[in-house]
């Protein structure tokens, strides 16, 4: 039974030592160690969360980039298409315009030619007329130099009138 009865002295010293080691370690060891551990754990958790968030953001950005790229590609195609249409339109319009101008110029030229031709013709006619009159005058002067010739001619004219 001696083993089972605690000695006061040892009890006292144990209590004293345990309590002092408890208070000392609590202040100088456990607090800093536990703080460091929980700090590290929250730090790691935060880092992982940040990494996850960054990853998500990255993929989001990538998606956006792809979307932008696709959009740009589409725009480019559209623009090329538009440009081609525009080009054709411009060419067509140019052709049409040119043709119209050419036609107009041709028409004008033709008109002028016509006018000038007419003027020339009129002049030729006038000249010919004058020449004919002159010739006729000269012929008449020569033919009608006798009285006989004058009455013969008059008869011829009368004959012509009758026929008409």
């Amino acid at each position: 039974m001696d083993l089972l009865t605690p000695e006061l002295g040892l009890f006292f010293w144990t209590l004293l030592a345990f309590l002092s080691v408890f208070f000392l370690l609590r202040k100088f060891a456990w607090k800093p160690i536990l703080n460091a551990l929980s700090e590290r754990e929250t730090g790691i958790a935060e880092s992982i969360a940040t990494a996850d968030r960054l990853k998500q953001e990255m993929s989001q950005m990538q998606n956006e980039n792809e979307k932008l790229m696709a959009q740009a590609r589409e725009e480019r195609t559209q623009m090329l298409k538009d440009a081609r249409i525009e080009q054709e339109r411009i060419i067509n319009k140019a052709k049409e315009d040119t043709k119209a101008i050419a036609d107009k110029m041709l028409a004008e030229a033709r008109q002028q030619i016509e006018q000038q031709k007419m003027a020339a013709l009129t002049e030729v006619k006038n000249q010919i007329g004058n020449l004919a009159v002159e010739v006729a005058e000269k012929v008449l002067r020569k033919e009608l130099a006798g009285a006989e010739n004058q009455s013969k001619y008059a008869h011829t004219l009368v004959e012509e009138i009758k026929l008409n």
């Binding site: 605690p6 000695e7 002295g9 040892l10 408890f22 370690l25 100088f28 456990w30 551990l37 590290r40």
Partner: protein
């Protein structure tokens, strides 16, 4: 203590071919006498090796730190004796004054009638109080010093390196243990308020573990196998438990809900008893485990000497078996040292957890 065992083994190997008797006979006062009187094998057969004397000599607290025996004389470190006498007051002197229990000093003597303890009594029969720095106390002071140095160094490393640097060295060895106590002991048992109890749990765990292992060291003291020590630690747990207990705990203890009145009369005293049995169980469990481990190892070693006392050949023949078994026991005790420290810590956490448990939501149907 184990040093003595191992030393005894060494001594056995060295002396078994020359003479076993004088060395073996030195383990207690009785051994002294036999060695002096007879000194030869013939006389050893009956009184030569007193196993219980040797074993209790090792496991009991002492006012000397016994190192080894040399030529039949114990080589030991006398420790300071501090005695409070109700009339004479406090007295302090070296234990060497007792001359290994053979003489009395200043009216005090070592009472040989008490076998399992080294009890100092007063010649005038006064009820003296012994506050001596005994072997156990000194061993504990040593463990306290080791704990303080190790832990503050580790804490310094944390401060120096910052929290985000990977641990290294002893810090690395300590960290898993600390996180184990936190995650497996404190968190499951104490709930959200676990952080406040971590210093206590860590101190209890490391204090016990270190002392358990120091007790296994050769020449170490049987500190945690002493009931005064375990009673003290259990008392600390009990006081914390009582100080932190809440209304919920007491109302469930004194007025268990949903129980008929007749059964309440029966249940409440049992609950109150269990409240006190918890720390007592803590105390006895650690004490008995550590003590039993020491006794088993010592007994196995003692068997060599018991056989050797019968005949030299039997002693030599049995030595390998005894050695193998004691190595096995020693390994087991190393495991037990950690397990018992863990169990004590865990149960402390469990008991505190019960005392601080908050009422569950929706439990108030009664």
């Amino acid at each position: 203590m184990v040093v003595k065992r191992l030393f005894s083994l060494l001594v056995l190997i060295l002396t078994v071919s020359i003479t076993i008797n004088p060395v073996l006979a030195q383990h207690g006062p009785e051994g002294h006498e036999t060695a002096a009187e007879h000194g030869h094998e013939a006389a050893e057969e009956k009184k030569g090796f007193n196993a219980s004397e040797v074993i209790f000599g090792h496991i009991r607290d002492s006012h000397y730190w016994h190192l080894f025996d040399l030529n039949g004389h114990p080589v030991s470190l006398p420790l300071p004796v501090i005695i409070y006498h109700p009339e004479k007051g406090l007295e302090m002197f070296s234990a060497s004054r007792f001359h290994h229990g053979h003489e009395s000093y200043n009216g005090y003597y070592i009472d040989h009638n008490v076998k399992m303890k080294e009890k100092i009594a007063s010649e005038d029969g006064a009820a003296i109080k012994d506050f001596s720095i005994t072997k156990n106390v000194l061993s504990m002071f040593l463990s306290v010093a080791i704990l303080l140095i190790l832990m503050t160094n580790v804490a310094k490393k944390y401060k120096k390196n910052g929290s985000m640097k990977a641990p290294s060295g002893f810090q690395n060895a300590l960290e898993p243990v600390i996180t184990f106590i936190r995650d497996e002991v404190a968190k499951p048992n104490l709930g959200s308020k676990y952080m406040g109890y971590m210093p206590l749990l860590l101190t209890v765990f490391f204090f016990l573990w270190l002392n358990n292992m120091l007790g296994l060291l050769p020449g170490g003291a049987n500190f945690t196998g002493n009931i005064a020590v375990t009673a003290c630690l259990a008392a600390v747990s009990f006081i914390v438990m009582m100080a932190k207990s809440n209304k919920h705990y007491w109302s469930h203890l004194l007025n268990p809900p949903g129980v008929p009145f007749g059964i309440k009369l029966l249940l409440v005293p049992i609950e109150i008893m269990s409240m006190f049995i918890k720390p007592i169980a803590l105390c006895i469990r650690l004490f008995a485990n550590m003590l039993a481990g020491h006794i088993v190892i010592l007994s196995v070693i003692s068997m060599i000497f018991i056989f050797a006392a019968l005949s030299k050949v039997a002693g030599i023949a049995f030595a390998p078996f005894s050695l193998a078994f004691s190595i096995f026991m020693f390994s087991l005790e190393l495991l037990v040292a950690a397990i018992q420290a863990f169990i004590f810590t865990n149960l402390t956490a469990v008991f505190i957890g019960q005392a601080i448990e908050e009422p569950h939501h929706g439990e108030h149907a009664h």
